[in-house]
Amino acid sequence: MPGLRTPSPSRSPPLTNAGRPGRYYRLPKRYDDLPPEPPAPLPPPTPVPVIRRVILHVRDTIRTSLNRFGLLREYPHRPSYDPDASLESEDLANWDASRTFEPSDSNPTARSFLPPWPFRNMSVFLLMEWLNSGSNLKSVGETDRLVNGVLRHPEFKASDFEGFSTHRENQRLDKADADAVGTPFSGDGWSTSAVHISVPTGQKDPTGTGHSFTIQGLHHRSLLGVLKAALADVSSKRFHFSPFKHFRVLSFGRKERCYDEVYTSDAFLQADDTLQKQKNELNCNLEKVVLGLMLWSDSTHLANFGNAKAWPIYLYFANLSKYIRAKPTSGSSHHIAYIPSVSVGI
């Protein structure tokens, strides 16, 4: 609670109307609202003596300092990229901790009711007027997204919109999608296949293969194409390429391991360790990174009434924090297949 502060003990409390010393009321400690905080930054790199002809695997274990919640990260190797270094408070909470409240207008008589009123300035006025007029399909959330993602973007320039037409730009996007060869997003399109399964018929079959049965209409995407497209997507700047151990330091100095993400789990650390010990590909000195895949599938009802059903397979990336991955608006779920229903054909 930002409004309630612990009073300094030296000042004596003001007297009440009855002449007795007054009391300070304060909220119990459990109601203290601590805004979330990103992890402590990595220490600056120190020059490491270059050791030639190493047979053993050298580890430069690196440990960050504690953040406010007593959490530290311990990497087995110095990471080449720290996605948490650029975390803003709005990424950590849906309530902006740094938000300040504006003082209310103290002199109501001198107020003017001309255009920016009741807003702060003309830009806000024009936007709010646009929001509350015309089509009612503009939501508050989408308008926030427009302001924070587009209008306040450092590369946004109103002068770029000379002769702009939404229709024409949409056509340009469709065309780029259609003849995309060599763009990061080529190769992750959908294709349709037929699936062949063998079914026992109950009759004697000397070959033992059963009756072959074809199910049409499996819609799927190339797994590798999806992986490549996901790495080119903007959400990949939040990907953790190096796994680490998360520790919480207790008050008496003991460390407690925190298992909070896939990339802090033993399974990921082990997979990374095995990969780092694996021989490099020929003439390739690029950093080797484990790309964790998390697959999920369940049949889904598409409507409250009727039996419209779909049976999708989804792909998530373990390199992404669960706080981002689990957000419905983060776009971090990739659908890779829609499985046809068996009972249609039989």
């Binding site: 390429f241 690029l286 950093e287 484990v290």
Partner: protein, 66 residues
């Protein structure tokens, strides 16, 4: 092909399991297996290229039995 009998449900369940297996057979194609073994290079958001090795960490799925 199938008549309504006691075996119908069993055979349908068998079909769905076979279908799921076969779908994964199609999804895990040669291209993916090559990437699994030898990695694939991708340009990352920070401008560096890295060699990525896909690894499966979780798989939670069922095949609809009914």
């Amino acid at each position: 092909m199938l008549t309504a009998g006691s075996q119908r449900a069993v055979i349908l369940t068998h079909c769905r399991r076979e279908l799921m297996q076969e779908v994964w057979n199609i999804l895990i194609d040669d291209e993916f297996i090559a990437a699994y073994q030898h990695g694939f290079v991708a340009l990352c958001h920070d401008g560096q290229s890295r060699r990525f090795y896909p690894r499966l960490f979780t798989y939670s799925a069922d095949y609809p039995e009914k």
